[in-house]
Each structure stands twice: as structure tokens, then as C-alpha cells.
């Protein structure tokens, strides 16, 4: 069973509505395909991470990757 | 356009009620005083004094007029046991109806047993919690439990906590008890160069308490007390005296001098890298406020004699406080250690752990200088001319 964090979900929902609303403008503005892809990638990744967080399945965060890299180099103890 | 207007309305309805944390005044119990003690088994007993605003208003408006309807008491006092302070406060809800609101705490009273077991670690909750009032006055109850103290019903104020706070506050004109706020106590606890002291409160009868004297701590544990004169000596040295009255007798006549300004300076004198002695310098200014006697008071020489007497008196009080701190408790409540830490950090690092013993052995030089400026509306004392 997955316990969902409903506050997180509602925040996500609000953002999704906003971004879909924005997407309409993006298409009507006739932006290039590159812009569209960037937009979709960023939105999708934040959606996926947000859902994972709401489900309590937190993946290792960029801060941890960076710390790990620095530990490998030996800058940070 | 329509959508954005709707969105704004929707947003306002979310934003304006103050999120999750709105609390109505009717949903909280206003805590005016908090008492903390320990029982024999080491459990914490927390006592709260809660004020009922409606009843406070009622009692003050219908005072002497006879209320008529059923009287609600303006305050009630409840105690509860728990493993920690927070545990006790939360468990207490089994006997209390509403949420306890701690930000209004005016007075914090610590029990004797609680203090003897050490306050360094146990007060953590009051520091960690977001609603703690750092400006509450802290007092140690002597010869009574905090519950007994908080259960008094004073004539002077409908809320006992306000009455107790008042007596602690007016130390500004008498300097017989140290007024210690919670934040200052935390600073004392955290500072290893200085030992903590807290004002003392005793219960006289059902209606009265007395705040006089000081509780002396050593490494967070209550080790003893200073009486009112020693307390004043201590306050003189730590430069916390604002106004006070010092009395002395000269040739069968009694004189009271009101100290209007006091500045104390302490120092540790080093010789060959070791502390050789402590020195205390006091500069006081005062006015003659009462003179019961037959002498005349006309010339500067008369004033000089009184100045000398008063300075001896102040010196005596300071020496009494020093003797108590050095010989009986060996606890550096004056904060000489801070001076060593600041100006001789290398030496301090070596002696940090045994500083209180070193402090106890050091001789002290006390130097008091008092200037009497005014004599009030009359010059010579009241007497029949012969």
C-alpha cells in the first residue's frame, strides 16, 4: 500500500493546472520544437519527482549525488 | 479574465484565514505561570496557572458589587506528572479542556528538588518550543512547591502570576532579589565561564509571597542560597543594581542613603601568568533619604563621614557574598571566569575545568567609592532645636 501525502498532491495539481494553461500559450506562440521539448521534459520530471515524493518513495537527491562526487574526489570528508 | 478573477477569489480564501495555524482565542487556555518540579521518583511535575479572560474582567468590574450569577474563578491551577516537561504538558490535557498556550507565560517557578537534580539539560523544552516566552521571569521556590506558590490568591491582583511578576520586577528599586529572565538563564547555562543564579521566592501565607534572596547553582545544580544582603552584594558586583537603599548607623543615629547610580567593575589581576587576586571596584552615587538622629548635617565633613560608613556597609555586603560564593559553594557566580576567558584565553584553556576551585582560593580586593550628592528637602535631621 502506498500512503499518499495529500498536501503534496494538491500542490502538484495546482502546478499542473498552471503549466497546462501555460502550454496553450506556448503552442499559440508558435515556439520552436526545441522549446516545446525542453518545456515538456522539465514539467514531466518535476511531475514524476513530485509524485514519488508524495508517495514517500524519495529517490536520492542531487545534493546527495554532488556530495558523493565530492567525497570520491576527496574534497569533502 | 473571468478565470483569473475567480482564481484570485479562490487564492484569497486560502491565504486570508492564516493557513493551518489559525487559533481562536476561545480555543486556547492562556497560561500565565508555569511551575516545574520533580517528585521522589524523578518524574517531572508541571503546574500551569491558567487565566480565564472573561472571568478576570467580571471580577474586576463587579468587585464589591456582588456578581449575582455563578462565579467563574479568574484563574485555576493544575498539576500533572510526566517523564518530560512536554510529556506532562500534553498528558495534562486529560484534565484540561483546551490547548495550552505558553507564549503568555509571565513567570516560571522551579521547584527546589528539580533544581537540586540539575537544570542544565532538563529545561531544553522551554528553549526548543516555538511558543516559549523567553522573557518570562524565573524564580526558585524555597520551602514550598511551585504548585503551592501558584495556588495563592493575592488581594493585589486577580492573577497571581502578575502579582509575582510585579514583586520580581520591583527589584529595580530595592535590589534584594535577582530578576532573571528565561533567556538570561539559558545564557548562564550555556556559558561555562559563569555559574547560574536565580531569584528566590518563598510563600508567606495564602495571599502573599516574598521574593528575596538568590539561589546559587554550581554546574546546573542548586547548591545553596544567598540572603537579601548577600544578594545585594552580589548584584553590586555584577553591576545589576539600579536603585537601592543602604542604611548605616553613625553615633546612635540611623541613616538611609538611596543609591541612584551604581557601576561595578571586576577584574582578575595576573602575576607571572597566574591569577594573583580578584579586584572589585564600585562607584556609587546616592542621596540621603532618611536621617534619624541628633547630629547636624551642614558641612561637607558630615557628608564625608556618612560616605565612609555607607561604603563600609556596601563593602561588607560584597564581602559576605564573596565569602559565601568562595568558601561555602565554591561557585563563580560573579563571572570572573569570563574575564580570564576573554583576556587570557591560553591560561583559560588549561584551567577551564578547575576554575571554580582556583576562584575560591583567590584573595579579593574590594574598593568602594560613594559620592553623596543631595540631602533632600531639609539639611539637618528632624529634631527639636536646643
Amino acid at each position: 500500500m502506498i500512503i499518499m501525502n495529500y498536501n503534496m498532491l494538491s500542490v502538484l495539481l495546482a502546478f499542473i493546472i498552471m503549466e497546462l494553461y501555460n502550454l496553450r500559450r506556448l503552442i499559440s506562440n508558435k515556439e520552436s520544437i526545441k522549446v516545446l521539448i525542453t518545456y515538456v521534459v522539465i514539467t514531466a520530471s518535476s511531475l514524476v519527482i513530485g509524485l514519488l515524493l508524495a508517495a514517500g518513495r524519495r529517490p536520492a537527491s542531487p545534493a546527495e549525488w554532488i556530495q558523493w562526487i565530492f567525497k570520491m574526489i576527496g574534497v569533502v570528508k | 479574465m473571468k478565470i483569473s478573477k475567480l482564481a484570485i477569489l479562490f487564492m484569497l480564501s486560502i491565504l486570508l484565514p492564516g493557513c493551518w495555524d489559525n487559533t481562536d482565542l476561545t480555543d486556547i487556555n492562556i497560561v500565565t505561570a508555569l511551575g516545574i518540579d520533580k517528585d521522589e521518583d524523578g518524574k517531572i511535575i508541571v503546574t500551569v496557572q491558567v487565566a480565564e479572560p472573561a472571568a478576570v474582567q467580571l471580577t474586576s468590574s463587579t468587585h464589591g458589587g456582588g456578581g449575582g450569577s455563578a462565579q467563574i474563578k479568574p484563574v485555576y491551577v493544575k498539576s500533572y506528572k510526566g517523564e518530560t516537561i512536554y510529556d506532562a504538558l500534553i498528558s495534562m490535557k486529560s484534565i484540561i479542556d483546551k490547548r495550552l498556550f505558553l507564549s503568555t507565560t509571565q513567570v516560571l517557578i522551579l521547584g527546589e528538588r528539580f533544581c537540586k537534580d540539575g537544570i542544565n539539560e532538563t529545561l531544553d523544552y522551554l528553549h526548543r518550543d516555538y511558543q516559549a516566552n523567553y522573557l518570562a521571569d524565573v524564580l526558585v521556590a524555597r520551602g514550598a512547591t511551585p504548585e503551592q506558590i501558584l495556588k495563592i490568591q493575592p488581594d493585589m491582583d486577580t492573577i497571581p502570576a502578575m502579582y509575582i511578576k510585579g514583586t520580581a520586577e520591583n527589584t529595580a528599586i530595592r535590589a534584594k532579589v535577582e530578576r532573571k529572565m528565561l533567556i538570561e538563564l539559558f545564557k548562564d547555562i550555556k556559558n561555562e565561564c559563569r555559574q547560574a543564579t536565580i531569584g528566590q521566592i518563598t510563600r508567606l501565607d495564602d495571599k502573599t509571597v516574598k521574593t528575596e534572596g538568590t539561589a546559587v547553582f554550581m554546574n546546573g545544580k542548586l547548591v545553596g542560597w544567598l540572603d537579601q544582603y548577600q544578594t545585594r552584594g552580589y548584584l553590586f558586583v555584577t553591576d545589576k543594581v539600579k536603585h537601592t537603599t543602604v542604611s548605616c548607623s553613625v553615633n546612635n543615629s540611623k541613616i538611609s542613603v538611596e543609591i541612584i547610580q551604581s557601576s561595578g567593575k571586576k577584574n582578575v589581576i595576573f602575576k607571572n601568568g597566574e591569577p594573583a587576586k580578584l579586584s572589585i571596584q564600585m562607584r556609587l552615587e546616592g542621596n540621603i533619604s532618611e536621617y534619624i538622629g541628633k547630629e547636624t548635617l551642614n558641612s561637607p565633613e558630615d557628608i564625608r563621614i556618612i560616605e565612609k560608613k555607607i561604603s563600609q556597609e556596601v563593602k561588607k555586603e560584597i564581602n559576605m557574598a564573596l565569602t559565601k560564593a568562595q568558601k561555602d559553594y565554591s561557585s563563580d557566580i560573579f563571572g570572573f571566569g569570563e574575564l580570564v576567558h576573554k583576556y587570557y584565553p591560553q591560561y583559560w584553556k588549561k584551567v577551564m575545568d578547575k576554575w571554580n576551585d582556583i576562584f575560591s582560593r583567590l584573595p579579593v580586593d574590594v574598593w568602594v567609592d560613594i559620592k553623596i550628592r543631595q540631602t533632600g528637602l531639609i539639611k539637618s535631621p528632624m529634631k527639636k532645636d536646643e
Binding site: E19, V35, Y39 | -
Partner: protein, 359 residues
């Protein structure tokens, strides 16, 4: 590039607000304890050099923002890759500030409100501000930023009741090492973060004053940090400083009589809002230039949403946040704040003539 101009005063206030930003929550110079003032002085000097470096880059590459400069100097391919890293860095910066504020508000003012809701509500106003453009941001800072030094001074001046002005003694009790470490921390957070302004400096209407404005702003911030540090240490003593999670908040609670906490929260939100807005704006402008979008505004909401999610994702608890900003952030920032700008400056100096010939 947006067709907009901001005045010198607006840039000065925007930058001051940005630099004060979230450092107002976390006491400047805590780790060096009583020697924090030394760390502030050292990092202020270093910050002055860094910020002068950034303004020199902009002066040598007139009316170009970060992405364009990078592409000009490093070539299209490498420049774009570096630009992507910078965009990530700006988003990361914004999300860290989001998290700082979320933690702060959850601890002190809204203990029972979920952090994601606080951050999300905060983010909505950020989207609005960033969408309004740099001119509006400049005007907002003109109204709001003066409150920060003003209120800080009031809070400080009214609380100093104990006059132990020797509280900062002894000097260098624990040696020079913690001072150096804290200086590095302060240099990279907040002074070096002004690298964000590489995208904002080009909008200044009168470039001749750029160096003067940045210098003044850095000096003002250093002085304010010193003031805040001394205020805190005089009120709280050095032994006590390290104990509190949010030191300046603690000092504001100590005012007898009235509750100054709301004033303090206002300062925080102004500083943090401006900081996040600048970071988001920089990220959005850079991204739109990188992808060649016609209007930068289409990216605002998705970038803000991403950084909000990132802020919730990035650290699990407050200790991770503090230890990360204390230990890793400095090293992580050095390439972005020092190395790349320095190379950029060298390239700009050497290729200057060549580029002008082409034009």
C-alpha cells in the same frame, strides 16, 4: 533579450536585497563563533573582488547576457553545455533558498502548516514577479529593500540592553582555521551567488556606474552583516550563538513589551523573495536564450514548479540542509562562482580586439 532598462538605484537595491537574502535567517559567521566578524571582513573583501570580476565581464561584453557571453567566448557547443550547468545552478540556488524559508517558517511561525504548502504559496508570488520582468523587479526592490536595513537597525538598537561590548573577545581563540572555513562559506553564500547578476547587469541603463553600484552594494551588505553579527553576539553571547537554529529570529523575540517577530518575518520574506526571484529570472532568461524561445515567460512557471519540487526533494531534514550548505556548497560553487567567470574574463580580455574587428 528583454527590452528593458533599470536605473542604478534599482540595481543597487536589487543586489543588496539579493545579497542579504537568506543569510538573514542563518546568522552570518556562526561557525567561527566570536571571530565571525573577522570572517565577515575577509569574505566581504573577497566578495568585492568577485563581484568586480562579474561586472568587468559584463563591461567587456556589452549588452550580452550570460548565455550569449558563454557562447561567444567558448564557442557554441561548449558554451551551451556550460550554460546548461549554470541554469541548473540557478535553479538549485532558488530551491535552496525556498527550502531555507520553508524550514524557517515551519519552525517559527507556522508549525502546523505543511512546508510544501508554504513554499508553493510563496512560489506563486515569485512566478508573478518573475513574469512581470526586470523593470518591475527593480521597482519592487525600490519599495521593499530599504525596509531591511531600516527594520534590522530598529530591532538591534532597541534590544541592546546589556552593554557588554567586549563579547567578541577573545580574538582567534580556536585558531585561524574556523575563520577561514567560515569566510569561504560566506564568500560563496551570499557574495559569490551574485554570479546570477551576469544576466541582470546588462539591463542597467548607464553602464558607467556599474562598478560603483556593485562596490557600494557589497560594502553596504558587509557593514550590515557586521552590524547583525555584533548585535547578535552582544545580545546572546558567543557561547549561546551556536545553539540557536535561527539566531536573528531569537534576537527579535527578545524585545520586551511588543512582539517584533512579524517585522522580522517581513524582512525575511522580502530578502528571500528578491533572492529567489533573481535566481529564477536568471535561470529562465538563460534557458529561453539557450533554446531560442520568443518569450521567456513561458518557462517561468515550469522552472518555479521544478525548483519547488527540488526544494522538497533535496534534503530530508534540517540538519542535512545545514550541513550541506555548510560543508558542500562552498566547493560545489567554486567552479560556477570563481573558475568559469575567471576564465571568461581572461577570454574576454584576449579576444576583445578580434570580436570588435568582426563587428
Amino acid at each position: 533579450m528583454e527590452k528593458a532598462r533599470i536605473s542604478g538605484l534599482q540595481l543597487f537595491l536589487l543586489m543588496t536585497g539579493f545579497l542579504l537574502g537568506s543569510r538573514l535567517i542563518i546568522n552570518p559567521g556562526t561557525e567561527a563563533k566570536a571571530d565571525g566578524w573577522l570572517a565577515i571582513l575577509i569574505s566581504g573583501t573577497g566578495g568585492l573582488l568577485l563581484i568586480t570580476l562579474y561586472s568587468l565581464i559584463v563591461l567587456l561584453n556589452p549588452s550580452r547576457t550570460l548565455v550569449e557571453i558563454l557562447r561567444d567566448r567558448f564557442g557554441n557547443a561548449i558554451g551551451s553545455v556550460v550554460a546548461v550547468f549554470y541554469i541548473w545552478y540557478f535553479i538549485h540556488l532558488a530551491s535552496l533558498v525556498f527550502r531555507d524559508f520553508g524550514s524557517f517558517l515551519v519552525t517559527t511561525t507556522y508549525p502546523r502548516t505543511p512546508m510544501e504548502v508554504i513554499i508553493a504559496l510563496f512560489a506563486l508570488s515569485i512566478i508573478y514577479a518573475a513574469n512581470s520582468g526586470i523593470e518591475v523587479m527593480g521597482r519592487i526592490s525600490e519599495i521593499l529593500v530599504p525596509f531591511i536595513p531600516f527594520l534590522s537597525t530598529i530591532i538591534g538598537a532597541s534590544i541592546v540592553t546589556t552593554h557588554d561590548f567586549t563579547a567578541f573577545l577573545p580574538v582567534l581563540e580556536n585558531g585561524i582555521k574556523p575563520v577561514i572555513k567560515e569566510s569561504l562559506n560566506l564568500l560563496t553564500f551570499p557574495f559569490g551567488e551574485a554570479v546570477v547578476f551576469l544576466t541582470i547587469f546588462p539591463y542597467l541603463n548607464n553602464k558607467r556606474h556599474l562598478k560603483k553600484i556593485t562596490t557600494l552594494s557589497t560594502l553596504l551588505v558587509t557593514v550590515l552583516f557586521l552590524y547583525i553579527f555584533f548585535r547578535n553576539i552582544i545580545i546572546l553571547e558567543s557561547h549561546f550563538l551556536e545553539q540557536a537554529t535561527f539566531v536573528p529570529h531569537l534576537t527579535s523575540v527578545l524585545f520586551p513589551g511588543i512582539n517584533l517577530e512579524p517585522l522580522f518575518d517581513v524582512i525575511m520574506i522580502i530578502g528571500g523573495g528578491i533572492k529567489i526571484t533573481c535566481a529564477i529570472y536568471a535561470a529562465v532568461i538563460s534557458l529561453s536564450q539557450l533554446t531560442g524561445a520568443k518569450d521567456y515567460r513561458i518557462f517561468t512557471s515550469c522552472i518555479v514548479a521544478f525548483s519547488v519540487i527540488l526544494s522538497l526533494w533535496i534534503h530530508e531534514n534540517i540538519f542535512e540542509l545545514f550541513s550541506w550548505t555548510g560543508n558542500v556548497w562552498a566547493y560545489y560553487s567554486i567552479p560556477f562562482q570563481v573558475v568559469i567567470p575567471f576564465i571568461l574574463l581572461l577570454f574576454s580580455l584576449f579576444k576583445k580586439d578580434k570580436l570588435q574587428d568582426e563587428e
